[in-house]
């Protein structure tokens, strides 16, 4: 077994453990994905709910607020991620004290992902039958109760679906962040595999990212299936 690995994946084997090795890279990718998904998820859900609620057909329409938020979300969604990384460098340093490493990558990852997810949340919640909202109002529910008991409950399968999509695109972004100093599997593939011509490292990095994507997709599908009636 170890002979086969040594023959076909020589650089992967030597780069497995230790500083800058695969184990650390996997860990860094998971770290970046988890924390940015967590924070971008919270921010995205809040912004998405605000967009739906203040929409002209929402339960608390507010034209000015909606328009501003809508534009801000669009603006941040339009900035290419690789440029965003550089542009918000000073802000990142202010917030976490560094611009490199997984921790430094978190800030741009969250800012890059949250508006995307906010839009996904908005689209998911807008799909909730307005009649059900009306029924909830007729039952005497407050706006806050309608958000939690109707929007988030009825929209849950769709939210999970778009959450899954967002995390997968987020993994893509962690690879990009990694390449410019964030660490993780993206860094592994580019600065070790690609730039040192250690092709086996590039391929194994890619395969590991694919495994991560499939696992997340699988988990998402499982919950959607369980929740949809």
């Amino acid at each position: 077994m170890s002979n086969i690995l040594n023959t076909y994946l020589p650089n992967v084997v030597t780069n497995w453990y230790g500083e800058g090795g695969f184990v650390q890279a996997i860990w860094e990718t998971l770290y970046m994905t988890f924390y940015s998904a967590l924070f971008a998820g919270i921010i995205g859900i809040i912004l998405g709910i605000l967009l739906v609620v203040t929409d002209k057909n929402g339960i608390k329409p507010n034209k000015v607020f909606y328009n501003i938020l809508d534009k801000v979300v669009n603006l941040f969604r339009s900035i290419p991620f690789i440029i965003l990384l550089a542009v918000i460098g000073p802000f990142t340093r202010l917030l976490v004290g560094q611009t490199i490493g997984p921790k430094g990558a978190l800030v741009p990852l969250i800012i890059g992902t949250a508006p995307f997810f906010a839009r996904q949340v908005q689209l998911a919640l807008v799909e909730v039958d307005p009649g059900v909202i009306e029924a909830a109002e007729s039952i005497g529910l407050s706006p806050l109760q309608i958000i939690f008991r109707v929007y988030l409950r009825e929209g849950l399968p769709e939210l999970i679906r778009s959450g899954t999509l967002t995390i997968i695109s987020l993994i893509g972004l962690t690879a990009m962040a990694g390449a410019v100093g964030g660490g993780g599997l993206g860094n592994m593939a580019i600065s070790v595999g690609y730039q040192r011509f250690e092709n086996d490292v590039t391929i194994v990095s890619m395969l590991l990212i694919l495994v991560l994507v499939f696992v997340i997709q699988g988990i998402g599908d499982f919950f959607v299936k369980k929740l949809e009636h």
């Binding site: 039958d129 029924a135 109002e137 039952i139 407050s142 008991r149 409950r153 009825e154 009636h229």
Partner: protein, 353 residues
Amino acid sequence: MSEENNIVQLKNIDVTFHDGEKDVTAVKNVSINVEKGDIFGVIGYSGAGKSTLVRVINLLQKPTKGEVIVNGQNLTELKPKELRSARRNIGMIFQHFNLMNSLSVFDNILFPLRDTKLSKSERKAKVSSLINLVGLDEHAKKYPSQLSGGQKQRVAIARALANDPEVLISDEATSALDPKTTTEILDLLSRLNKELGITVVIITHEMDAVKQICNRVAVMEKGSVIEEGSLLSIFGQPKQQLTKDFVNTSTRISNVLEEIHEAGLANQISGRVVQLNYLGESTNEPLVVSLYKRFGVEANILFSNIEQLQNTTVGIMLLSLTGDESSLDQALNYLNESKVNVKEINLKDEVNV
């Protein structure tokens, strides 16, 4: 009609929507009084403003002008929190049921009970009794997607009843259902009205639904109530053209006239053609026989429809009368005096009953 008997009072309601530059008036100066225990029907074609009007009752639609008084409480003056608690006293069911797809039948009915003071076991008992009331015992664990339209509407009715409301609003609740299911749902509403004493306000475009359960009717056209009265007066003596249209469609007399017209039978029918609408006691008199006996007028029945509305007979007849002119006039006078609504019809004209 004493004031305290009125459970729902709409006073001079206006609803105006702003559509860009234009103002669209959906409801114009409508006043309605619904008495406790009524099954009040609001009938009109789509776009007449009846759905908007009925949403004013629980203030899902805020009126531009006017007062909404439900159970002695002026809803237009309430704070949001007070309005929400007032809404618990007004159940509502909808054309498309509006159930939570993510919740089971049981949980859908439990939904409005979540903030009540009832204990967990009391809530469960309450939901079970509601499920039993609407006849869905074996479906409690199913989800809405597994139910038929009629069953979904039963769930919606149980949900609307969860907070023991005194008023139940039905917004086209049977319009998406087949005729048999419609009858079943209407029977259920009528039963709830009798057993629970709940006041029901139904919105519909089907005269048959009104006929089946309502005791009072308001007819709406272009945002206004054009005619209002007891079911019998609306059905027996409709005054406005639209009301007559609804009645005629429901009794199918308009079909008959159209058929006569289309088949070119008008020329083959001799004598004067009259339409008779009659109510109650006059029905039991053998009209056709007495016309012949008293005036020597022969009546040929072209169409007849007799039905029981709230234990009163309501009939419509289309007769062609032959005899000499003076006896015909006498006969028509006699009919008018015996509380029969008589209208002469010229079959050769464009059909317009």
